[in-house]
């Protein structure tokens, strides 16, 4: 909208042009604030919080109406709401194809990736309720502080690191690749950690994603026994695998279908086997 003060003189052609221009701008504003979303629009309820904006310091839910397109995802709906109604609506996203792991959200009561979740597939596809990941502090709207999650991931030393540098190429057998295949799929979205009741109560618990990472390297045959022993120390520490109470929440929400509980249980058995040796 123009910042110039329009001339009050009716006969001034400049003022007339300005007045017409403002009228058109107002029409455009009107159109964008009330777009035609159709009769079967999706009701999108979004958690809002912003410590820097007076009326958003107390968290609240805002409602947006989004046209129902075939195949529309929750992320699409959020983008529509942001671009159409409120440019301050804040959420992370990047790849839009369940690869980057940046848009794990709490959608209709469950941790899911916004980009991987089609509205039509939700239990309630009329009203979509989007909240930031539970058990993480909210920075703004749907953006949570992921630092603690990344700290837990780093704690298991999530990189290939044999004790001694290999001379040449290190080949992995097909069987071993199969063994760790699922565990390599993690996209660090944090959905599992957010769903875990035990992680919520114990800030030091490594959590499902980190333990799964530990699994990925523990079972990688290209690392030596000494390194494997070190990895087991991390895995079976006080706040490691033994904290898991097999609630299966992580496995239920993981967008990459990693059998997290199975991996945690297998590492528990590895820990028992290495400590109980009667032979």
């Amino acid at each position: 909208m123009s910042t110039q003060t329009p001339d009050t003189d009716e006969t001034d052609p400049q003022a007339e042009r300005m007045a017409r221009k403002e009228e058109r701008a107002a029409e455009r504003d009107e159109a964008s604030s009330k777009p035609d979303v159709g009769d079967d629009a999706i009701t999108l309820k979004v958690f809002r919080y912003d410590p820097e904006v007076a009326d958003k310091q107390e968290p609240r839910f805002d409602t947006f109406h989004v046209p129902r397109e075939p195949g529309i995802t929750v992320l699409d709906a959020l983008i529509y709401a942001r671009d159409t109604y409120d440019s301050s609506l804040t959420f992370r996203h990047s790849c839009r194809q369940a690869v980057c792991g940046s848009d794990a959200l709490f959608i209709n009561g469950s941790q899911r990736l916004g980009c991987q979740t089609q509205v039509a597939d939700l239990n309630d596809s009329d009203t979509v309720r989007v909240e930031p990941l539970p058990h993480r502090e909210v920075v703004k709207d749907l953006v949570v502080d992921m630092d603690h999650f990344y700290d837990q991931m780093d704690a298991v030393e999530p990189y290939f690191s044999p004790t001694e540098e290999p001379d040449g190429e290190q080949l992995q057998s097909r069987e071993n690749r199969e063994k760790i295949k699922m565990s390599t799929r993690c996209i660090w979205c944090g959905a599992c950690m957010s769903s875990c009741n035990v992680a919520a109560g114990d800030n030091q618990y490594l959590g499902p994603a980190a333990i799964n990472k530990a699994y990925r390297f523990y079972f990688d045959e290209r690392e030596d026994d000494e390194r494997q022993e070190e990895r087991l120390q991390i895995i079976e520490q006080e706040h490691g695998v033994w904290r898991c109470q097999t609630q299966f929440s992580c496995t239920t929400v993981c967008p990459k279908d990693i059998p997290l509980t199975e991996h945690i249980q297998e590492l528990k058995r590895e820990a028992v086997k290495s400590n109980l040796k009667f032979w």
Binding site: P59, N197, G201, T246, F248, T261, E262, R269
Partner: protein, 131 residues
Amino acid sequence: MSQSHNRGLVEDFGRWREFSAGMWAWVFHKFTGWVLIGYLFTHIAVLSSALSGGAAYTNTLQGLEQLAVVRVLEVGLLAVAVFHILNGIRLLFVDLGVGLDLDTQEKSFYASLILTGIIVVASVPVFLEGL
């Protein structure tokens, strides 16, 4: 980051409607486990009436068994114990790495619930007999 919002832990159990099968299995298992421990104390208290002689013991037991509340509580105790045992067996399989896929673990939980229900219903006539 200047400030962030902590939603606290309360949200967890406030969301019980959204719990998955595995979460319910966990809640029920903890609950039944602790109820059994609680029962252990009343059990010892009742048994220790035998310290005052055989007659005192018989009187205590007969007195208790005449009360309808006690009979109903006994059915409840059976339900709690049976669920804890059946789901406990399920958890032992989980620890052995058997049936850890989501489908099997959910179904085995529902199976423990249904079996508990059947056993409890079948036991009602026995527990309420002669009231």
